[in-house]
């Protein structure tokens, strides 16, 4: 595989998640998984937490995975990955066992927001603290989509879900999205980055960086879900792009060097940092999604839209500070 990652080259690299799986039309998850897998360095193994990506790619006797793959449970993707990595490490050290010959093994854990922000947080924290050499890919569709759109710690403020319905008294989820990236960065792991399916080259470059660092790496991918966010399947990339353009979900990477987190904005967000007038109002992102419909109809909830805009501005400002901009 060529070292330089370009779209022109990448289309020639094999897709390790085959077509024909049962994920919904318009789902962002296989886009992210395919992009990440395209830039693996050689021998690769993946584990996937219970969720859409797992159930829809593996109904027995079919499987879309062209790499060794295992699903064990919901809350333990990081722990399962720890075990795979430990097995490889032990065999390497001993120079015997079937994995001894692999100088490089890219171990990937895919998990959704439920499996990361909520039920899997402990296993994730443990694996990060222990420093296993693996890449954790959070495919964040901001709710428990596999069980039918229930709110998670990753669901944004005011979003409608089936367990945070927009009622006549309560306008959707009352809590803010948990700052998972900061929680992960606080573990002082070598590499953390946000990625979006709207920027495939950025996904691949960051995934390669994640594989290359020694120790745990964390990729936070926003995965727009047309079923749960209530937008047409043809709009996935557009919605993903708006999340970046409104700074609702900025793109950046953070390397810990000498114990200090060094943030660096990625090109789409850096362009906004340099030309702040390009930053779109968050309303443009909210308006295209049915899960925020109650902010606009039957009557416009200026107060709530303002709250969200202030949250975006505050977090964007904090990010710029951290990136020294």
């Amino acid at each position: 595989m060529s070292a330089a990652i370009t779209l022109k080259e990448a289309v020639k690299w094999p897709d390790l998640l085959a077509s024909g799986h049962r994920l919904c039309a318009g789902c962002a998850e296989p886009i992210i998984a395919r992009l990440v897998l395209k830039v693996r360095r050689g021998a690769t193994m993946a584990t996937t937490a219970t969720g859409c990506l797992e159930v829809a790619t593996t109904i027995f006797p079919y499987s879309a995975w062209r790499i060794p793959w295992i699903h064990t449970a919901f809350e333990n993707a990081a722990a399962t990955a720890s075990g795979i990595e430990a097995a490889w490490r032990a065999m390497r050290r001993r120079g015997r066992g079937p994995l001894a010959k692999y100088e490089i093994l890219d171990v990937i854990a895919f998990a959704g927001d439920g499996g990361t922000y909520d039920i899997g947080l402990q296993a994730l924290s443990g694996a990060l603290e222990r420093g296993h050499d693996f890449t954790y890919v959070l495919v964040d569709n901001e709710a428990y989509m596999n069980t039918g759109i229930q709110r998670s710690g990753g669901t944004p403020y005011c979003a409608w879900t089936t367990t945070s319905p927009a009622g006549t008294v309560i306008p959707g989820k009352r809590e803010w999205k948990k700052p998972i990236d900061e929680i992960v960065i606080a573990h002082e792991i070598p590499y953390v980055a946000t990625v979006s399916p709207a920027y495939p080259l950025d996904v691949m470059r960051k995934a390669r960086s994640a594989f290359e660092v020694e120790g745990p790496a964390f990729l936070h991918a926003l995965a727009p879900c047309c079923r749960g966010w209530r937008f047409p399947p043809s709009k996935t990339i557009e919605v993903a792009k708006l999340a970046v353009e409104t700074c609702f979900f900025p793109l950046w990477e953070c390397r810990v060097e000498d114990g200090r987190p060094l943030y660096k904005l990625s090109p789409p967000s850096l362009a906004i940092a340099k030309r702040p007038e390009r930053k779109k109002p968050v309303e443009e992102y909210l308006r295209v999604q049915g899960r925020f419909r109650h902010l606009f109809r039957p009557k416009r909830r200026e107060d709530l839209i303002d709250n969200i805009q202030r949250w975006v501005d505050r977090r964007w400002g904090m990010l710029l500070e951290k990136a020294g901009l």
Partner: protein, 404 residues
């Protein structure tokens, strides 16, 4: 038979020492009383370079088992140890380890389950896991713990079996009690356990060894619905049946090496026994002592120690117990709301259509580590003799040594 070395080891140390000699690829464990000595000793072996195992000090028992599953799926030998609430926290993963057919070995240092919190021994933890698909070996003393921790690998990895194995030892009674243990040399143990073999399976991309292999990718743990799940469960049923045959085979080989063979059941003074107690674990030492005492008084008492509870050696039990007049079951766990403890229920079940059957009485004892001295065992035998005199069981479910 190989040369052996006598060491003073408690049950936990015996487990750790055996695992040191096996030198598995991965040990993932979390501390819980009374299992802690196992992880402490093993950590020392790692720190002193006596093993080259990857020791993963996980943040919970759930992750311990998840880590072992990941490691074993990647082709490694994986070991963990736990007790009581730790085993309960692993619950979900126990079934997954067994259903994924991963020959993990785990020492369970039996301890009462909370609430109320109690650190002492009974079998409520591992008895609750009896349906999880794990092989279960119960040990009477540290020697048996050592031997089982060596044999377990060959049993679980047997090509006809491919199941995880629990080696159960009684908390404190065994785990913290120093005993003489005959140990093999490291070389003899490593020769005996050899390398982990893999079965061949048909994957979606062709034939492959059953492990995560970058060259022959398999999908493990897929969604498996009503059209295949049941067949996969049947494989587990079959594997347990085959384990009944595989275990004595492995045991014979081990007996040649060590001079100690265990088999599935240990009858004691059963040839002409009219009354007998059956049970598991360290209490059987006390029962043996009481049997001797009763024999001296002319009572035809016997004992049936079950070393293996899963798979349940039904045929052998019927054969060995059918001519006994009254059998008392020692259950160190209670199944609340059930007719009796777990061993009692299964024993009665196998005798339902056995043609000849003894009278069967249940004695639930020792919950939360309640002491079970010879006096209580004698009380149970007296109950059996009373039933023999009457020709019937008055009270099927009895509780020994409780103020009630």
């Amino acid at each position: 038979m190989r040369e052996q070395r006598l060491l003073g080891l408690n049950g936990d140390e015996a487990a750790a020492y055996a695992i040191k000699q096996v030198n598995p690829d991965v040990v993932a464990a979390y501390p819980i009383t009374p299992q802690t000595i196992i992880v402490e000793r093993f950590s020392e072996y790692v720190a002193d370079g006596l093993v080259d195992t990857e020791f993963v000090a996980v943040e919970s028992e759930h992750s311990a088992m998840s880590c072992c599953i990941g490691a074993a799926a990647a082709g490694a030998r994986a070991f963990t140890a736990t007790a009581a609430n730790g085993l309960a926290l692993m619950w979900e993963m126990l079934y997954i380890a067994a259903s994924l057919r991963l020959p993990i070995v785990m020492a369970v240092v039996n301890r009462a389950l909370s609430a109320p919190i109690n650190i002492h021994n009974d079998h409520s933890d591992s008895m609750g896991a009896r349906d999880s698909g794990w092989i279960q070996i119960y040990c009477e003393n540290s020697q048996e713990v050592y031997d089982a921790c060596v044999e377990a690998w060959r049993i679980g990895e047997h090509l006809d079996v491919q199941l995880p194995v629990m080696v159960c030892l009684d908390g404190f009674t065994l785990s913290h009690t120093m005993e003489n243990v005959q140990t093999l040399s490291d070389e003899a143990v490593r020769e005996f356990v050899g390398e982990r073999p893999y079965i061949k399976v048909q994957g979606h991309l062709g034939e492959a060894e059953f492990r995560l292999d970058p060259e022959n990718p398999l999908t493990m743990g897929p969604l498996d619905l009503y059209d295949f799940y049941f067949e996969h469960k049947m494989h587990q049923v079959e594997a347990m049946e085959k384990a009944l045959k595989a275990m004595p085979q492995v045991d014979e080989e081990y007996a040649e090496l060590s001079g100690r063979g265990y088999q599935l059941l240990h009858p004691y003074e059963m040839e002409d026994a009219e009354v007998a107690l059956i049970g598991l674990g360290s209490t059987m030492g006390t029962v043996r002592y009481v049997v001797d005492r009763l024999r001296r008084r002319g009572v035809k008492a016997g004992m049936m120690k079950m070393r293996v509870f899963r798979p349940f050696p039904a045929e052998q039990l019927i054969e060995l117990l059918k001519d006994v007049e009254v059998v008392g079951v020692l259950d160190k766990a209670m199944s609340f709301g059930a007719p009796g403890g777990p061993l009692y229920e299964e024993l009665r079940t196998i005798f339902y259509d056995a043609g000849r059957q003894p009278l069967i009485v249940d004695y639930v004892y020792g919950l939360g580590g309640r002491d079970t001295p010879p006096r209580l065992i004698e009380e149970a035998f007296e109950g059996l003799m009373e039933a023999k005199r009457r020709g019937e069981v008055v009270e099927r479910l009895n509780f020994l040594g409780v103020r009630w």
